[in-house]
């Protein structure tokens, strides 16, 4: 019986069957016999999360634009579906042709967050593909990965055949071309890896040997094949106006998390907040022109029928031509009866005016991210805003009719003291005071300030990559301290689970020895770790103990600035020298100007484009 026939017997028994159905508008189904290469694009989380992700939309349509490639989507089946699949002997399958994933030429994972790693093992397992790359023989698909976590993919290095570093639009096509040539040559599996190892941005983990000192730190990372580059530099697209961007995207039947058109206005971020990995790994900042964006917007509105479009970037207010784009886009969206949403906008006179114009209907909450409570700590993390900036923005918002403000903070930041923690409450009170000082006739009736606190996780490729992470106990103590400092009923406090952050901290700066822990945790039943209802810290503890690995080595240790880091052979264009300088400046409480105000010499000008040459 074919998979599609078997599915018919089980889909009535699972939640949200449209997750597994395929057939959405703009999905692309090609006859497998008509193409040279079948690429299974795997997102290691459930459909609604994966389908909200912009990267998969771009690469799915890009790969399918090549007539010799068929790209099909695969998501992690929810546990209820996995149970049914096991019961009926259904292997992991693609949505487009319901084909077995093990029959594809490539199985590519996008790595968006560390807590999806067990899902990768789970998907390989459901597909019947050997977990470890060394166990895969001729005829087995090549398992590859990309995305932000790929820059330090060492914890999953043993499971991956190769990794694509950086923006995928060009490199993935080069790999496809090389695959065709390799296939015709009739050479073996390792030959293909040797061929692509010479492409800039390709990292083949098995081509590198890692040796360790007695204390567990890394002694050296050395290539063991002449084709492997000593340092692998990420790829970027220099000119975003002349790169593939889909003019249609798949429109899901069921509701997904971001169920709208996403218009990517630029890549990178000029800010350089010292805790933020995204702020460094996507450097340098490159913008799209309003003409390109308008062209995309019109096509996407027409081809999807979506009723909402949102601007996407790390900090939309930093888009240099925002007023022009906003004016043209609002004209277009009004005509097409599409609503425009503007996340990650700094609150100033311009943005308030814009929001009032486009969000005619509801005035829901506005969000600010001061990230730290005290000015001292905000300087340490290089979050270039002052208390006055926050209260001035809040006043604009309250006078504009908004009455709910969300403030985002982190606790556990380097150099943090209890005074910095309670300063979070002071800042929330200052926002409330701003409201109280506005005459009643000029503000909304009630006010509500939500303080949302997450735990700082030190990340690779940031100035804080050498820092130690607070213990879950210490974080809980700080949470309680903060809770005690908040007395106003109009301020509500929300925080995130700290034991997940703890594990995230281990894997974000982990090395390849953690592959064994992942495999052990998966065998014990760890799955969907980013979902509170499935996260099982006790099983993880067992897995670490069995493998003889102390997680504290990875997240509770202040590393020396000279230590060889597990990701040191990967080059994101920002130098370690720069990170050391930034780390020193952080301790001194000195800020660094943004890329447009003054170049800080991070090294990203090596790519020869973007903001570095404006």
């Amino acid at each position: 019986m074919r998979i599609s026939e078997k599915l018919d017997q089980i889909l009535m028994k699972v939640q949200k069957p449209t997750r597994y159905m395929g057939g959405e508008v703009n999905s692309i189904v090609k006859d497998p016999s008509s193409v040279e290469i079948r690429f299974a694009f795997c997102f290691p989380d459930v459909y609604e999360i994966g389908m909200s992700h912009l990267g998969i939309k771009i690469l799915y349509h890009l790969l399918n634009s090549l007539d010799y490639v068929s790209c099909e989507r695969v998501f992690t089946p929810w546990p209820d579906m996995q149970e049914q699949m096991k019961l009926h002997g259904i292997p992991l399958f693609s949505l487009e042709t319901k084909g077995k994933v093990s029959d594809f030429d490539f199985v590519g994972f996008t790595l968006q967050y560390e807590m999806c790693y067990t899902n990768i093992l789970n998907m390989l397992d459901l597909a019947g593909i050997p977990l470890y790359s060394r166990d895969r023989g001729e005829g087995c698909p090549f398992v590859c990965a990309g995305g932000p976590c790929a820059y330090n993919c060492e914890p999953i290095a043993d499971f991956l055949d190769f990794v694509m570093m950086g923006e995928g639009e060009e490199i993935i096509c080069e790999v496809m071309e090389e695959y065709c040539r390799w296939k015709k040559s009739g050479a073996g599996r390792i030959d293909f890896l040797k061929r692509i190892a010479q492409i800039e941005g390709i990292y083949v983990p098995s081509f590198y040997d890692v040796s360790y000192h007695k204390d567990g730190t890394i002694a050296a990372v050395a290539p063991n094949q002449k084709e492997a580059k000593p340092v692998v530099r990420k790829r970027i697209i220099s000119d975003l106006d002349h790169v593939f961007y889909p003019d249609k995207i798949v429109v899901p039947f069921g509701e997904v998390v971001f169920d709208r058109i996403m218009l990517e206005v630029f890549r990178g971020c000029i800010r350089g907040c010292r805790f933020c990995q995204a702020g460094y790994i996507y450097r340098p900042v490159r913008e799209k022109s309003p003409d390109t964006l308008m062209q995309s917007a019109k096509c996407l509105i027409q081809n999807t029928g979506y009723e909402e479009i949102s601007l996407s970037s790390l900090s939309t207010s930093d888009y240099t031509r925002l007023p022009e784009l906003a004016e043209r886009l609002t004209a277009e969206t009004e005509k097409a009866k599409v609503s425009l949403s503007l996340p990650s906008l700094r609150i100033d006179n311009f943005s308030i005016g814009l929001m009032q114009q486009v969000q005619k209907v509801r005035k829901s909450g506005l969000t600010f991210a001061p990230e730290a409570g005290s000015q001292r700590l905000r300087d340490v993390i290089n979050k270039g805003i002052t208390e006055e900036d926050v209260t001035r923005s809040a006043e604009l918002a309250f006078r504009g009719g908004w009455n709910h403000i969300k403030l985002y903070f982190m606790i556990g930041l380097p150099t943090e003291t209890d005074k910095d923690v309670t300063a979070i409450a002071d800042l929330a009170r200052a926002v409330i005071r701003t409201y109280d000082n506005i005459p009643k006739s000029e503000r909304a009736k009630n006010v509500n300030v939500t303080v949302s606190v997450s735990s700082f996780v030190p990340k690779a490729f940031t100035p804080f990559q050498w820092e130690k992470q607070d213990t879950p106990e210490e974080l809980v103590r700080k949470q309680k301290l903060l809770q005690g400092a908040i007395t106003d009923k109009r301020i509500s406090l929300k925080w995130h689970e700290s034991s997940v952050s703890n594990l995230e901290g281990v894997f974000s700066r982990g090395d390849r020895r953690l592959s064994a822990v992942l495999a052990a945790a998966y065998q014990k039943g760890c799955l969907f770790d980013s979902w509170d209802e499935y996260f099982q810290p006790a099983l993880w503890e067992e897995a670490f103990a069995e493998c003889g690995i102390d997680p504290a080595f990875y997240n509770r240790r202040k590393r020396s600035l000279e230590e060889i880091l597990p990701w040191e052979h990967i080059d994101v264009g920002v130098s370690n020298e720069f990170f050391r300088r930034e780390c020193q400046k952080a301790y001194e409480g000195k800020t660094t100007a943004n890329c447009r105000a003054a170049c800080a010499g991070c090294g990203a000008n090596c790519f020869g484009g973007g903001v570095c040459y404006e």
């Binding site: 009535m12 159905m21 057939g23 508008v25 999807t304 029928g305 009723e307 509801r362």
Partner: protein, 220 residues
């Protein structure tokens, strides 16, 4: 503004699309087709569409009805149908479009029956079991209602029931059941047959809606 009645169908490949997902899909398809859908006034404008009797998840159909309002009048309803069919995802299709004034009834709310083709796997089926079943005065089944699960007599909700064909262990029924405000699902009838009909023991497989009726009349 013009209100039009759409008769449409959906194949088995899209039978898992729920009613809410269907409405969203329909709205987006109309927008893709570039048709001037009418929106309600007020703070949260929504498209002016009425689906006659929402189809249950898992069911295919060739006789669904809905009314859709547009800001414009249409002369050529066949062209409109083609335009819609080009925009709909595979598996959904418009069969015909009519001015509701020319329909047998003007409001979809008068619909009270649906006709189905229902498949079941049966371990045994003695001749004439359905006649004995229909001869029962009362057929009590646990039925989901607005106020929870209740013991309900479903006999008055069964208008017609017959065996269309029997092929090996698969049996196909024709059923005409209450639909709309009072609604009976074919699966419950198969369950009731298994429980009460002498000589029938089977398991529900799938159903396909053929038409929606008001009294004896097809509503389109």
């Amino acid at each position: 503004m013009s209100k039009l009645r759409f008769k449409y169908g959906c194949d088995a490949c899209v039978k898992y699309v729920s009613h809410l997902d269907f409405v969203r899909m329909m709205t987006r398809s109309i927008r893709r087709a570039g048709l001037p859908l009418s929106y309600s006034q007020g703070f949260n404008p929504h498209p002016v569409m009425t689906v006659a009797v929402p189809l249950s998840v898992g069911m295919s159909s060739e006789g669904e009805l809905m009314d859709i309002s547009f800001d414009e009048e249409f002369e050529d309803l066949d062209a409109l149908k083609e335009q819609m069919n080009a925009a709909l995802p595979q598996g959904f299709y418009v069969i015909e479009i009519k001015d509701p004034a020319k329909s047998h009834l003007d409001g979809l709310k008068y619909i009270d029956k649906g006709e189905y083709r229902v498949c079941a796997v049966c371990k045994n089926a003695a001749a004439g079991f359905e006649a004995d079943f229909l001869a029962m005065d009362r057929i009590m089944m646990e039925k989901k209602t607005k106020s929870g699960i209740k013991d309900t007599d479903i006999r008055p909700m069964i208008d017609q029931l017959s065996v269309l064909e029997q092929n090996g262990n698969q049996i196909t029924f024709f059923m005409r059941l209450a639909a709309g405000a009072v609604n009976l699902k074919p699966q419950l009838v198969v369950d009731a047959l298994s429980r009460y009909a002498e000589g029938f023991c089977g398991e529900y497989l799938s159903s396909h809606r053929i038409a929606l009726l008001s009294g004896e009349k097809n509503c389109f």
